[in-house]
Each structure stands twice: as structure tokens, then as C-alpha cells.
């Protein structure tokens, strides 16, 4: 909760809380996400504008085996409650599957150790076409020097293949002091090999596009968006015949 207050004071307008699921443990159930209203009685207002801050929920699946991906196709209700779904592939085959066929919004790129596989152009291009974004973490880089080297080398090798498109930089901050402001994160993007415009987009427009991608995943292909409004149904029913009458009269 402290982390969120620091976030808001620094100037972020939307925050996603991450829940990581690792498949090494045998029994794993997907828990319902923590609703943001439990954390804050009233969400504070963004600095500079008059809108409330959005708190979203996010699920990360650490997959090291193709059979784990079946969980995504299952119709478990709890998965639908998350706004953004991310996958963290550990092998090249899984990276290929994640980029081409899996129904996710983000593909996490490992920053804490040397990548066991090289990126190839075809799956990366297919992911860009599908609207899937690649995610880089920056908190390990702040904490440790060897992780910083791995982060930069992995990030630059990704940049050379995807030319800086579809990148999202996020923090895996566990303490409020590991967070950095949005301007600083965009400057970190310069270190990763992005140009200045791409780095700013990595913090702002790409993130918003990811959230929209998550919303289209919830609705049917982004065309129909159903919202439950139990009380207003009666009003709508009475409104409809009135419209029909108006049409027949006109």
C-alpha cells in the first residue's frame, strides 16, 4: 500500500498489481485478484489532472512446459477477472508459442540471467502484428550490478530484433524506494537502446495499448462490451417501448 501512495505522488496515472504464478509447485490455484477498493477507501487523484487513479490487476504465468499453457485456455472464471495477463517463457519453443498462438497481452523478457535462447525475427514480428508487447523490468538493474549487465544485454539484443517497437518498461518494485518516476524510467529506456520518442512511448502509449488489449480480450473481439447493470435493466425495458413508439409515430 505504501508503494501505491508513492506511485501516485510521483505521477503515475494507472498502476497494475502483479500476481505471479509459478508452475514448479504442484498444486497451484489461481486466486481471485485483490480488488483495489480493499486497499484504498477512496482512490486519490492524479497529479495535474482531475481524474482518479486506476488500479488494475495483472497475472504473470511463469511457464517452462507447454502443458502449463492449457491453463490459459481453460474457462476458469478467475482468469477473466484479471485485467492484464502476462506470460514468462523459459524456453525458445515457449517463446514462439507465446508470440504466435497464446492469448496474452505481455511477454516478459528475463532480465536476471543470461537468456538461454536467442530471439529470432519471425516470432517477434508475429507478436508485433498481433499487438503483444514485450516487457522489461528495471528494478533488478537498480539493485544489483551483475543483473544490470544482464538487463542491458538482454534489452539491447531485443531492440536489435524488434527495432524498439512494442516495448513496455515496468518495475517489479517490492519496496516503495525501488520505484522511479516516469521521466526517469523513460531515461532508462535510453540506456536500453531506445530512441527518446520510443522510450517515452514505452512508458505511456504502449502501456495504455496493453490495457486496451486486455480489455478487448475480455470482451468479444473488442466489439461488444457487456457490463452488468442489474438495477438499470428495468429502466431500459421501459425506455425501449417508448423509443419504438416514437419511431412508429415519426
Amino acid at each position: 500500500q505504501n508503494i501505491l501512495t508513492v506511485c501516485f505522488s510521483v505521477g503515475y496515472s494507472a498502476v497494475a498489481l502483479n500476481h505471479v504464478i509459478d508452475f514448479k509447485d504442484k498444486k497451484q490455484e489461481i486466486i481471485k485478484p485483490v480488488s483495489p477498493s480493499e486497499l484504498f477507501p477512496s482512490l486519490p487523484i492524479v497529479q495535474g489532472t482531475s481524474k482518479r487513479i486506476k488500479v488494475l490487476t495483472r497475472l504473470t504465468l511463469v511457464v517452462s512446459d507447454p502443458s502449463h499453457c492449457n491453463l490459459l485456455r481453460s474457462t476458469s472464471a478467475n482468469i477473466r477477472l484479471y485485467d492484464i495477463i502476462a506470460v514468462f517463457p523459459k524456453t525458445e519453443k515457449l517463446f514462439h508459442i507465446a508470440c504466435t498462438t497464446l492469448d496474452v497481452d505481455l511477454v516478459c523478457i528475463n532480465v536476471t540471467e543470461k537468456l538461454p535462447f536467442y530471439f529470432r525475427r519471425p516470432p517477434v514480428n508475429m507478436a508485433i502484428d498481433r499487438g503483444i508487447y514485450f516487457e522489461l523490468l528495471y528494478t533488478p538493474a537498480i539493485k544489483d550490478s551483475t543483473m544490470r549487465r544482464y538487463t542491458i544485454s538482454n534489452a539491447i539484443s531485443l531492440m536489435q530484433i524488434c527495432k524498439g517497437k512494442n516495448i513496455v518498461i515496468s518495475s517489479a518494485a517490492e519496496r516503495p524506494l525501488e520505484l522511479r518516476g516516469p521521466y526517469d524510467v523513460a531515461n532508462l529506456g535510453l540506456l536500453f537502446g531506445l530512441s527518446e520518442g520510443e522510450a517515452k512511448a514505452a512508458v505511456s502509449t504502449n502501456c495504455r495499448a496493453t490495457v486496451l488489449h486486455g480489455e478487448t480480450r475480455k470482451s468479444a473481439c473488442g466489439i461488444v462490451y457487456t457490463v452488468k447493470k442489474p438495477r438499470k435493466v428495468e429502466e431500459e425495458e421501459t425506455a425501449v417501448p417508448a423509443c419504438k413508439k416514437a419511431k412508429t409515430q415519426a
Binding site: V6, V10, Q47, G48, R180, N187, L190
Partner: protein
């Protein structure tokens, strides 16, 4: 016209410990930033950035810092600022981080931005105010914010609210 062009980077020191802000010194901050540049960009980066590197302005009440560097090397400085993790002064380490607010070419532009920023911060504090006196204090200082006034006035008002 041959002139050395500088970039002024305006940052805010954010930390959890309330004592940290009172112990901010320009020397300690300069050392911390140089150390971060050395860790990230090595000897070359440190040498490039320290050609004209100084801490121009420091406000201990609000934690505002103004750094100066050459225009050619301000990117190295800006990309190394996220790596500042703590400030060390008088043998005590205070974990903190620097939040970059604005990069400008002259001190005057940074000052204008700072006045606007302080105004929005005071507005935010106004919302959280419970005391009627504080409210009037803040409103008075909001109306009196301008370029010719000294910024220590708005800094003092904010400090009163922080200690409350």
C-alpha cells in the same frame, strides 16, 4: 556566438525517512550522483559529466535539487539519475531516490517550472487539510506565488504542513 550551453536538471528527493530531507547537503548529493554515474557509465561517463557539474540550488524543506551539466553530456547524467539509491552524510545512509521533474536550458525556465509545480503541490495539500488556519495559510501563499517572489516562502508553508 560562442557560448557554453548548459542543461539544468530539476529533481526532487523522495524518501521515507523524514530526517533525510533535513540532512541533505550539496556535497553529499553531488557525491552520490557522481558515484551513480561512475557505476553506470564508468570512467568515461564520469569524466564527461563532471566538466561543469555542480549542484546549483538545494531546498531542504521540499527536497528540490537543481543540477547543472554540459549540454553534450546531459543524457549521460539523466540516464544515471535513476541509479541513485541512497544519500550518505555524516556517516549515515539514507535510502532515497531522485525523481526528475524538468530539464531546462536556463535557471529561469527551471524556476518557472518549479513555481508551477509547487503551486500544484500546494493545491494537493489543500485537499488534505483539516485545519481552517492551514487552509487560509495555503490559499494566501498560493495567491502570492510569482516569479519575483522568493521561493522560500512557498517552501516554508509546505514545511508547516508536513510537520503537522
Amino acid at each position: 556566438m560562442v557560448r557554453f550551453k548548459n542543461r539544468y536538471v530539476l529533481c526532487e528527493v523522495v524518501s521515507e525517512d523524514p530526517r533525510c530531507r533535513q540532512c541533505i547537503e550539496d556535497r553529499a548529493l553531488g557525491l552520490a550522483v557522481r558515484d551513480a554515474i561512475a557505476r553506470v557509465h564508468g570512467d568515461y561517463g564520469l569524466a564527461c559529466c563532471s566538466i561543469s557539474f555542480t549542484v546549483k540550488y538545494l531546498n531542504a524543506y521540499t527536497g528540490t535539487v537543481l543540477l547543472r551539466c554540459r549540454k553534450d553530456s546531459y543524457r549521460l547524467l539523466c540516464s544515471a539519475l535513476p541509479f541513485v539509491r541512497y544519500l550518505e552524510s555524516r556517516a549515515q545512509r539514507y535510502p532515497c531516490f531522485l525523481n526528475t521533474l524538468h530539464v531546462g536550458g536556463t535557471i529561469r525556465t527551471c524556476q518557472k517550472f518549479l513555481i508551477q509545480y509547487n503551486r500544484t503541490q500546494l493545491l494537493r495539500l489543500l485537499q488534505n487539510c483539516t485545519n481552517e488556519e492551514e487552509r487560509q495559510c495555503i490559499q494566501k501563499s498560493l495567491l502570492s506565488c510569482s516569479l519575483t517572489e522568493e521561493q522560500s516562502q512557498s517552501g516554508d508553508e509546505e514545511e508547516d504542513d508536513d510537520t503537522e
